[in-house]
């Protein structure tokens, strides 16, 4: 992709289509409400197996593994927030194309390109 075209694409970021914004916000709400509530319901039922002493070990294992698995992801998210990785949410999709061009041109790994 030519540098001119990349710049043109970057320039359009300011006036992203209304449709894209609506779709993104709509899905954010839908994921949180639909998938979030479904998941919360499931995990509550799994916890209930502990409370009811219904299926010894299952609820503790499922919930315990979930919490352990989520810990690194929560920490990674916090790390990303604190190091400014979300300052411009759409920027990485343009940068990854630029990076590829730089590397194809023979750029070295390990150099700073913040």
């Amino acid at each position: 992709m030519s540098t001119r075209r990349l710049r043109a694409i970057r320039g359009r970021r300011g006036d992203q289509s209304l449709l894209r914004t609506i779709v993104t916000i709509g899905f954010a709400v839908a994921v949180l409400v639909i998938a979030g509530l479904g998941f919360t319901y499931k995990m509550t039922e799994f916890v209930m197996t502990i409370v009811n002493d219904d299926i010894a070990g299952f609820g503790a294992a499922a919930v315990g593994v979930y919490l352990i698995g989520m810990l690194p992801i929560v920490f990674l998210t916090l790390w990303a927030v604190m190091t400014g990785k979300f300052r411009d949410v759409e920027q990485p999709k343009f940068r990854m194309l630029e990076l590829d061009r730089e590397i194809e041109r023979g750029g070295e790994l390990g150099s700073h390109h913040g």
Partner: protein, 441 residues
């Protein structure tokens, strides 16, 4: 590719058993039950895991502009992984397979795999954590999630039911393991690679990075612990089963975000499906993914399970997911990366097109055939017909399955030949330039 070939041949041999033509009959260590374990395990750990690790080794340094922690460690992990796979095949054929679905890797291999995964994560996560890039591209988020989950899921599935949580609870955890292996290991790595390769090949950015992150967090937070829906109507308390069913249907909204994003990206560049074979493989796999997830929303209901449980419907579904989605994506990766690896352009591009059609027709035929077989079996059992009647009714479907398998294998034979023919071409300046042109124009 050697483990892929092993998996294919194991699958064909096992399918032929249903036609009373098992080619390895009378040899205990090659008995069908053991060969089936080799078929599934080599598909998941030998083929998909190897290819996905290769894909990440290509993508991560390019996205972070940082090298992996150690090239030498990378080679050690590569050698060790192939050794573990060989030990897995040997152990399973000698009768040491563990009695856990998708966790049949022998007990003596499990700790080695966990150590291997820890080393792999250390090697590949380091460049992500060291990156000086301002933002973190969505592929890296997916890889990080897979790194966080894979070892834990493997430990949970292989050890908890075996040593600490036996019986019904152990079976329920096995259900979680089966589904988390797909959802928290192959799915995040697969989507991470698609988010990397598709924009590069289409030469346009993903439609919405924000939407891709919503899909990521939806998967990371709301996907885990789905698999109890594999054990509906079992002794697991019904309220826990209902919870798993509701959550599985609800999480389909996350799937839709990903599909919308990739087809939004394709908008205006649909010609690439025809002109770029890797893109064609990628998007065929995405259509399969959408179909499997759509199917999933229905088949996890108690109504559907009453009919399809234990039938060939499930086999069709598993093949559509593991081969039709992730296998197809890997074909696209190989088509894109093999010329770079050997420094030569594809020697026989027409064979690659044939490979695509053989594989697609073979898989679609197999999926339709086994889905229909599953319905025939399910309704036969629900009607309380004699078991033998369902077997007799299934025989034609099992013949079609074997033919479909042969089509798939023939396609892979063409692919292996194309790879070999490409690698053995003389490497000249002209061929290297041709690779560069083919990759970048």
């Amino acid at each position: 590719m050697a483990f892929f070939a092993t998996s294919l041949l194991g699958g064909l041999a096992y399918a032929m058993q249903f036609n009373n033509l098992y080619p390895l009959s009378g040899i205990e260590w090659l008995s069908p039950g053991r060969v089936r374990m080799v078929h599934t395990n080599m598909a998941a750990y030998g083929f998909i895991a190897n290819a996905f690790i290769g894909g990440m080794l290509f993508a991560i340094p390019r996205l972070t502009r940082q090298p992996i922690l150690s090239d030498r460690l990378g080679w050690v992990i590569f050698g060790a992984w192939q050794l573990f796979m060989t030990l897995t095949i040997g152990g399973q054929l000698l009768g040491y397979g563990q009695g856990i679905e998708w966790g049949e890797t022998p007990m003596f291999v499990d700790p080695l795999i966990i150590v291997g995964l820890v080393l792999l994560v250390t090697n590949l996560a380091t460049p992500i954590l060291r990156t000086q890039e301002q933002g973190l591209y969505v592929s890296l988020w997916y890889f990080l999630a897979a790194f966080a989950w894979t070892g834990l899921v493997y430990f949970m599935g292989n050890y908890l039911p075996q040593f600490w949580v036996p019986g019904t609870a152990g079976a329920a955890i096995t259900g979680l393991f089966i589904h988390d292996l797909v959802g928290l290991f192959v799915t995040p790595i697969g989507w991470g690679l698609m988010y990397f390769f598709v924009p590069l090949l289409l030469r346009k950015p993903i439609w919405s990075h924000a939407l891709s992150l919503i899909g990521f967090w939806g998967l990371a937070f709301f996907y885990p612990m789905q698999g109890v829906h594999h054990f509906l109507y079992s002794p697991i308390p019904m309220y826990a089963q209902y919870g798993a069913v509701v959550a599985t249907i609800a999480v389909e909204i996350v799937v839709i975000t990903v599909i919308v994003n990739f087809f939004g990206t394709l908008h205006g560049r649909a010609d690439a499906i025809r002109g770029n074979l890797a893109i064609r493989w990628f998007y065929t796999g995405m259509i399969m993914y959408a179909l499997t997830c759509f199917q999933c929303a229905f088949q996890v209901t108690l109504t559907f399970q009453k009919i399809i449980h234990f039938t060939d419907w499930v086999v069709a579904h598993a093949h559509m997911v593991m081969f039709g989605v992730f296998g197809f994506w890997i074909m696209g990766l190989i088509i894109e990366l093999w010329p770079r690896a050997v420094g030569r352009p594809w020697a026989t591009p027409q064979l690659l097109t044939l490979h695509y059609w053989f594989t697609l027709i073979g898989l679609v035929l197999m999926v339709i055939d086994l889905t229909a077989a599953g319905l025939v079996q399910g309704f036969s059992w629900a009607a309380l017909s004699h078991w033998g009647e369902s077997v007799v009714a299934s025989m034609p479907f099992w013949w079609v399955r074997s033919v479909a398998g042969l089509l798939i294998i023939a396609g892979q034979g063409l692919f292996f030949y194309a790879m070999w023919a490409t690698a053995r071409q003389p490497s000249t300046l002209a061929t290297r330039a041709a690779v560069a042109v083919a990759q970048r124009v």
